[in-house]
């Protein structure tokens, strides 16, 4: 196995089996804490600077079993999976859970984790979600400061500004390298399949940033650019806080499409914004939070002058995508609320689109395949040969 292949395998392993990665990390970092971070906006740099491994708790794609007793079936798949992880002890790898976002379903799952294991710290540091308010900057800064204090309490250390600045640089470098890969894909490189890219980003959400970057660099050294073929170019949109099933990504490309860009949580949404390095680190962390929604709008935030629909159209224009596939996790209310705005914008622009509602279990792949093939056919008719 080449070094690049081995590196990719290591990334894949971390993405798909984060608990093994955590245990290995613990063995080399005795006495240091592992923090379970719940999506979407907790600044992991704070924990990293305290010597804590901040792991964004993923949907581990296990069937929901005992968790069914704690959340209703009309909660999204990710939150039901979290409740199941709590109910079956699969969150025991984390010394604490921190959440910075007010999503009522996410808080429901988090409360299940808190109730089932009262001894483990579970902290909500709610970042303001209405970002146009005159007090938004101040409230963000205050909450970031509170999060810093809470991390310090967990880790039993004081976070030095120099350490925080170093952590910011480490995460920025990793995000920058990831961005190069995604920008290359948008420009015509199809060296990586959507599943490979998802694994690479999902690994970044678990791993130490320096370790991740070194592995990714090794992968890139070993992987040559590959020109995109003539399949229908599609943009994947949605899945705001967890990964879509890998088999769904595979079916999309099998149906005659090639993914050229996305705004997925395990895609561009994770890496789009960096933390400013030229300003004091706490100020920078707060600025990063504000920048994220501009760099890639999220329907969980309220910001009147930032439009996901406009962003999507611009993105489609940049990548040359010929169609958009909306991947909407069933019961995701912010996505359900915003979807008509996306649909209207794409319809107006004449961009073919398909809404696929995804579920944690029981994805009807053959049904999706047929619908995807129909989308591909429709997009084909927009090509010049059909004009």
């Amino acid at each position: 196995m080449s070094s690049g292949s081995a590196a990719l395998e290591a990334l894949r392993a971390a993405a798909r089996d984060p608990r093994s990665y955590i245990r290995a990390w613990r063995s080399t970092h005795p006495g240091q804490k592992v923090l379970g971070v719940l999506p979407m906006n907790f600044p992991r740099e704070l924990a990293h600077a305290a010597g804590v491994l901040p792991v964004i708790v993923p949907d581990d794609q296990e069937p929901v079993t005992e968790g069914r007793a704690f959340l209703p079936e009309f909660y999204c798949g990710y939150t039901r999976n979290l409740a199941d992880q709590a109910a079956t002890g699969r969150l025991s790898d984390y010394d604490a859970l921190f959440v910075a976002d007010h999503c009522i379903q996410l808080l429901g799952a988090t409360d299940v984790a808190r109730e089932l294991d009262p001894a483990r710290p579970v902290f909500l540091g709610q970042l303001i979600s209405s970002l146009n308010e005159p007090w938004a900057v101040r409230k963000t800064a205050e909450m970031m400061s509170e999060l810093r204090s809470e991390v310090e309490r967990l880790a039993g250390v004081t976070i030095e500004d120099t350490a925080l600045a170093a952590s910011i640089r480490a995460f920025n470098r990793d995000r920058a390298l990831l961005r190069e890969v995604f920008d290359a894909r948008r420009s015509g490189d199809s060296a990586f399949s959507p599943v490979e890219l998802q694994d690479i980003v999902a690994a970044a959400q678990v791993m130490d940033p320096d370790e991740h970057r070194e592995l990714l660099a090794a992968v890139l050294r070993d992987r040559e650019a590959t020109a995109r073929d003539e399949r229908i170019r599609v943009h994947l949109s949605g899945h705001l806080c967890h990964a879509p099933r890998r088999e769904l990504l595979e079916v999309i490309e099998e149906a005659g499409a090639v993914v050229v860009d996305d705004d997925l949580w395990t895609g561009r949404r994770y890496l789009q914004a960096s933390v400013p390095e030229a300003i004091p680190p706490m100020e920078a962390i707060a600025q990063w939070y504000a920048d994220r929604n501009v760099a890639m709008p999220c329907p969980t935030r309220v910001q009147h002058d930032v439009d996901w629909d406009e962003w999507l159209l611009d993105s489609v224009h940049r990548s040359g995508a010929e169609a958009v596939i909306h991947l909407m996790p069933k019961f995701c209310e912010p996505h359900m609320l915003y979807y008509p705005e996306l649909r209207r914008a794409l319809d107006t622009a004449g961009v073919p689109q398909l809404l696929v509602e995804t579920e944690h279990e029981g994805i009807p792949l053959e049904t999706f395949r047929t619908r995807l093939e129909a989308l591909v056919e429709r997009a084909h008719r927009n090509r010049p040969a059909y004009a």
Partner: protein, 446 residues
């Protein structure tokens, strides 16, 4: 196949006084529908009862959830929901928001509605199409994250042409050991944070309307509301008696007046009449349910399509639904917090006390407290299909009630404003089973 035929005979003895409230509410809506003609500016809002501020700002106000609930209670939600569905809103989306956004779509379409082929609602005398377009949006939503997003989408449906003001509410999670119901640093800081935003809202309204805010009017209306809320609490206290002189369903009927009617003497008189009728029943041995045999707590937001039906169904089984989170722990439920000379802090605190804005630990405290104080035999959880905020902690609450107090519970599925989610057979069979279990427990204890 679901059947919704009402059981007979009638064993529910609903309060007569609440009918007057129904009339007051009907007049309120009629007044709102013609507000534009009378030169009023109109605000659409969601969340906590911020209407006293609108009253003092000289505005007419429309509470989005209340309007959706009213449509559902009158079986008139269909056209708005269909318009929303055609626009693209998924059937699993909060049906309050789906109905209200459907109204927004219909309102935006305006006179073009007849040409869209969407629902034809505009040509009908349907309530959904009578909502006057807003001049402002104000979002005052605590608890559920969907609330703030919903108004932002309303703002976009109106092409960003209607000014909007958002009030942000910290979720009362209970991070610190000192946190608890009405106490702790988290409670204090959140209260002042929201209070400060109300000050900003008032300045924003003054600027937008061009009118100075009438602080005396605010104090006056909050004085009436505080008194009405005290009377409401007194009535709720009286319902701890066995048998209960009135039930949860009576209090559901009295939600609209306390939630959004103007603070005035008429409101006080209404709750005085409700309280007095309950006292009269107590004095004369009249119960809210004929031959009360069981006392039940109802957790869940109301199924507005089924209010009368559920009232009769439970009474048919001899069940007095005596309390519930949506009644006991909502709607100006802590009037002692209101300083009528300086009401903003107490108002802010009530917005934070939305029954979906607490972590499970506080809800657990409130639920167990109420179950004990009302002498409850069992809990019925309305698993409100499109309300994730209310349903999230329900399973944990059921577990706690069973483990702590030995109180059994059942779940039934329904929804706030979408009748399609209600399954009568499920409620019927589960309710019967729970009541039998209660009988067995009583027999074993005797």
């Amino acid at each position: 196949m679901t059947t919704t035929a009402a059981p007979a005979p009638e064993r529910a003895r609903r309060l007569a006084a609440t009918r007057n409230g129904g009339q007051m509410v009907a007049e309120y809506w009629e007044d709102l529908f013609t507000a534009r003609e009378r030169g009023k500016q109109i605000v659409w809002y969601n969340g906590g009862a911020i209407n006293p501020i609108f009253q003092a700002a000289g505005l007419a106000w429309c509470h989005g959830e209340a309007f959706a609930a009213r449509l559902a209670a009158q079986q008139l939600e269909g056209p708005a929901q269909l318009a929303g569905a055609e626009y693209g809103y998924n059937a699993e989306l909060c049906s309050y928001s789906r109905t209200h956004l459907g109204c927004a779509v219909l309102t935006v379409q305006g006179d073009e509605g007849a040409n869209t082929g969407v629902v034809g609602a505009h040509d009908q005398a349907e309530l959904a199409a009578r909502l006057p377009a807003p001049d402002f949006f104000v979002n005052n939503y605590a608890g559920c994250s969907t609330g703030q997003q919903w108004d932002e989408i309303s703002y976009r449906v109106f092409d960003k042409e209607v000014p909007i003001f958002n009030i942000s509410h910290p979720f009362l999670w209970g991070n610190r050991p000192d946190a608890g119901y009405l106490k702790g640093e988290e409670w204090e800081s959140a209260s002042h944070y929201v209070r400060d935003q109300l000050v900003d809202l008032i300045a924003w309204l003054e600027k937008r309307t061009g009118n100075p805010f009438d602080w005396d009017m605010l104090r006056e209306s909050m004085t009436y509301i505080k008194r009405a809320a005290e009377l409401r609490r007194e009535g709720l206290e009286l319902c701890k008696s066995t048998p209960a002189p009135a039930t949860f369903w009576d209090w559901i009927s009295a939600i609209a007046p306390i939630n959004f009617l103007p603070g005035n003497q008429e409101l006080v008189d209404y709750f005085q009449s409700v309280r007095d009728e309950i006292q009269h029943r107590l004095d004369n041995g009249i119960s809210g349910v004929e031959n009360e045999r069981y006392r039940v707590y109802f957790d869940g937001i109301m199924n507005w399509n089924k209010l009368g039906f559920l009232s009769r169904k439970f009474a048919e089984h001899g069940v007095a639904v005596v309390a519930g989170r949506y009644i006991t722990n909502a709607f100006w439920q802590e009037p002692q917090l209101i300083d009528t000379e300086d009401p903003l802090l107490g108002m802010a605190q009530h917005y934070l006390l939305c029954p979906t804005n607490h972590g499970t630990r506080t809800l657990d405290y409130l639920t167990l407290r109420d179950c004990e104080e009302y002498g409850v035999d069992g809990i019925v959880f309305h698993s409100t299909r499109t309300c994730r905020a209310f349903t999230g902690p329900q399973r944990l609450l059921a577990r706690s009630a069973q483990n702590t107090l030995g109180i059994p519970s059942i779940f039934f599925e329904g929804d706030v404003a979408d009748a399609s989610f209600y399954k009568d057979e499920i409620l019927e069979s589960r309710l019967t089973a729970m009541l039998e279990a209660i009988d067995v427990k009583r027999a074993q204890a005797s």
